[in-house]
Symmetry: C2
Subunit: 191 residues, 2 copies
DNA sequence: CGGGCCTTTGACTGGTTTCAACTTCTGTGG
DNA sequence: CCACAGAAGTTGAAACCAGTCAAAGGCCCG
């Protein structure tokens, strides 16, 4: 049974058997405890993370001190502050473990070397980014199209098992409203 | 002076001189008049568009009949409904020319053949999607972080010349509020 | 079993929408 | 080149979605 990251690559591009271990050597294995921060505001956006097990979230703290979650990443998803990672600058975001989480991490110069040595991975990441971009394009549509209440129902219909996995205040933080308002929605009968 | 699309490719990957014309043969040149629809709701998301000259917008019509603009694409930007394009399904969106616009268009199967014949373009699109994804990640941050009024000031500070280019009702449609409210913001002195 | 974190409740507030009417701009044909 | 019709922008009043604040209740984990 190959390493999970390699299995995931092979869903998108074909690799020779010996490539797996060679590719893995570019990555660092790291583990984080629930609520531990992988990255904090002001840090260099050093790593691109692949989630092997667990769940991460990307959030920022607004000027009222409230945490706004932008994304979650569960098994087989990639996560970073891409703007800062690309330009190798400091980030305005936090990345935090929602559960105990195991990742494979790669820094920017190492990722560049990885692309040189394994150009097939350009295709892999082309496909990954294409999907991610498509998903975000759709997400922006929902943010404009749906009321906060409709966003909640949309999300709980589409990802019922993920809802089980996270506390309500994180769901509220992701959907962009307050825990109080989420309570109010849940109290009412569904329209 | 090479075709603009080829020049753009060469900013990201190196091509042999003879590759330019060969790559161009995969694309269709099309022109659209201001306010003409390239794509309408219910159409197949057939093409991926590269804007040579002019400006496109991607929008949908909500259940109140209001047009909500998700993105603009000006010179050297790519545009499509990526979710529908990827899965070769019908789209919920419209793509419309904001000005008289010239594009290069490629359909999905042709794009697949293009990647087979010119694998360097996997890298090009990996970089294009990476940038686009990073930009959208940041956009979602702004949507959560800023009030409608702040969104307007943010946008007009960062893209003053683009603002000159488009009518106010399209700006309001992009920022997610009503033309009436935009009037109100502009009437007030800036805080 | 205790403390702190999470969730709920209710009253008040405000940013933004809605609607309708009015004014100004723009482009097209006579 | 002017006239006019439709499109775009402005104004003000009333309504509403969702936030804020404060306080009480529930529940998980040490």
């Amino acid at each position: 049974m190959a390493e999970q990251l390699i299995q995931h690559l092979q869903k998108f591009v074909s690799l020779k058997d010996e490539d797996g271990p060679a590719i893995l050597r570019f990555f660092q294995a790291k583990s984080f405890k629930k609520k531990e921060n992988l990255v904090e505001e002001g840090d260099m956006a050093k790593f691109h993370y692949f989630v092997v097990k667990g769940c991460l979230r990307l959030f920022f703290v607004n000027d009222k001190g409230v945490e706004q979650t932008l994304q979650f990443a569960i098994e087989n998803w990639w996560l970073s502050d891409y703007m800062a990672f690309q330009s190798q600058k400091t980030t305005d975001f936090y990345i935090q473990a929602v559960e105990n989480t195991e990742v494979r991490a790669i820094d920017y110069p190492t990722q560049e070397r990885l692309f040189e040595e394994f150009p097939q991975l350009e295709r892999y990441f082309r496909l990954i980014y294409q999907r991610a971009y498509a998903a975000t394009q759709l997400r922006v549509k929902y943010l404009f199209d749906l009321s906060r209440e409709e966003l909640y129902y949309h999300f709980s219909d589409h990802y019922p098992d993920f809802i089980q996995r996270i506390p309500q205040y994180l769901l509220a933080s992701f959907l962009g409203f307050t825990p109080e308002y989420l309570s109010e929605i849940r109290k009412k009968k569904r329209p």
